[in-house]
């Protein structure tokens, strides 16, 4: 039983961390009025870059740093096209996801001649505790993610910077009249948002899997977007949403293992039914708790100066 609980909590943390960081990045973006559905693409680029640059430099810290730079650059491109060139923000995101997925595989083939996976890197070690003779690991990035979430909530709700950011997303014209540079604030938000999303990608390869494969991100960027909408663009609620999704995903892994040993038989096709759990649970929960959606009012609309 203690094994079951430890595995459940650990898996919850792993799964929640990615979904949380992606949502936190997207919230910064969208509070400023810029939609970014390219979270998956940022995850892909940053998870791949972490491995690529770590192997190239022989140093994990440099790999992580450069992966965050790559994420920031991706945000910069998204911001420049959507803010200054008034591109359709949703379309840019769709295109960006395709480019990221294709480009990383092309680079994988040209660098290592392998279509499916990169070599392994030396992973980060989480915080280890011993409970009743069992080792219990808290991933470092889970702590980072929760701290970023709390800080983001504080900045958005309690400081002047949060007010400026929200003004750009709700009433850009009024913000401009108050002397805020809407273009520059939005650009800063898309870059910063992409860096926070990038932390999620870094976590995937630097602490969770230790390499990059086509299946590393597995649509988690889209789950992060779902969490963002679930949280009603509130970072504190995003922490709760991520833990909830993470819990159901962890349960979908741990429960069949536990049931198999209790019933003494192997599941075959039934494992697919368990895998449906987190997604079905999300639909049910969101249908029950959903109140009026309150997204930033000028979300997705390019700001046009008069």
């Amino acid at each position: 039983m203690i094994d079951f609980l430890i595995a459940l909590i650990e898996n919850t943390l792993y799964s929640a961390t990615v979904v949380l960081l992606g949502a936190l990045g997207a919230i910064i973006n969208e509070k400023s009025g810029v939609v970014n559905i390219g979270v998956e693409g940022v995850f892909i680029l940053s998870a791949f870059s972490t491995v690529y640059f770590t192997l190239a430099s022989g140093n994990l810290a440099i790999g992580i740093l450069l992966a965050l730079v790559v994420s920031g650059l991706a945000g910069l491109i998204h911001g420049l096209i959507s803010i200054y060139l008034r591109g359709d923000q949703v379309i840019i995101g769709v295109g960006f996801n395709m480019v990221a997925a294709g480009l990383t595989i092309v680079m994988m083939v040209t660098t290592w001649g392998d279509y499916s996976q990169t070599p392994q890197i030396q992973k980060l070690q989480g915080l280890q505790f011993t409970i009743g003779g069992k080792v219990f690991i808290i991933p470092l990035f889970s702590i980072v993610a929760i701290l970023v979430g709390l800080a983001e909530w504080f900045i958005l709700e309690k400081t002047k910077y949060g007010l400026v950011l929200k003004a750009c997303g709700d009433e850009p014209r009024a913000a401009e009249a108050m002397g805020i540079n809407v273009f520059r604030t939005r650009l800063l938000a898309t870059v910063l948002g992409a860096v926070v999303m990038g932390l999620g990608g870094v976590f995937l390869s630097a602490e969770w899997f230790g390499n990059y494969t086509k299946a590393t991100t597995a649509g988690r960027g889209f789950i992060a977007l779902a969490n963002e909408a679930f949280s009603n663009w509130n970072p504190a609620m995003a922490i709760a949403g991520a833990l909830l999704f993470g819990f159901f995903e962890a349960l979908s892994i741990s429960l069949p293992i536990q049931l198999q040993s209790m019933l003494g038989r192997q599941f075959t096709a039934e494992t697919y039914l368990f895998k449906m759990m987190p997604y079905v649970a999300t639909i049910i929960v969101i249908t029950m708790v959903m109140k009026k959606i309150r997204m930033p009012r000028a979300l997705g609309k390019p700001y046009i100066k008069e």
Partner: protein, 342 residues
Amino acid sequence: MPEASNYMRIVKVIIEEAVSLLVGFAVAVIILLFSGYEPLSVISILFSEGFRNTEVLMKQSIPVIATGLAFSIPALAGLFNIGGESQLYIGAFTGLVSTYIIYNATGQPVLSSVTGLVSGTLAGGFWGFIIGYLRARRSVNEVVVAIMMNWTTYYLVLYLIVSRFTDPIYSHMSVFVPASSRIPDVLGFIMIAGVAVLTYIVLRYSSLGYSIRVAGLNPKAAVYAGFNLEKIFITAMSISGAIAGLGGALFVLSVIYSIDTTMSAIYGLGFLGIGIGLLGRNNPIGVVLAGLFISGLQFGGQWVELRTGAPPYLTDVVIGIIVIALSATYTYELLVSKLRRG
């Protein structure tokens, strides 16, 4: 002069698309140069092989034209349908299984394939309805529900195939569509192209099409004018789900005949449909053309790999860049006005 302005609008769209395609291929050339491949030979193989076999091209484009339409119709109403993926899965699976069961029960090839197409369409439509209903009646974000339904359906179909409908000989495949129930030649393409034409007519000339467009252009005005937004959302999502479902059923019955237990033959076709809907400018006829074009590039990409070893995923990069370039049409206006001012 409405004719002249209409003509100018078409010219503008063609120029924007052409420039975006050029940008997409220019980036591809740069990537090819960096990774040590011969850009000219890669691109010439891409086009010469990709568009050589018309029948293959038409068949391969069936599912993405369907998911492209499934993206575009709700997009006109202001909804983002990212659920083409699951609507296609469930249509393909339901179409396959009902054709198989009816054929084994009655021995009637035409009856079985017609039942397959109808049930695939209905299943997809029901999947779309769920998203539209939750959005309209419970104000649940359609993107969230669609994403969750994509994964739910992915595992649901896998479960059903592995637990009940595995082929007795090839254990990694589902049962096969009986040989005489298969849809011959390019009839499947003709059907989906017919659906596109029908969609075009409905969107342009019917009151339903009008209300969909008004809801997308100005939802507030639509409400004041007495349109029922809830009904429009549910209808648009149900129709688009039905088309994606039909596309899945047609693809199974006329091209792949069976679904493998990793779903590799149908995975990603819904996401690709989003790109195709955008490339086709949410115009049903444009979606058919974009579907043929992208399918050709993808098919050509496989030949590029065989001949030069360049990974076929390069095609995805090209398509992605084209989509990004298409998003920023304002850039072209900016350039033109700069050029005019000198």
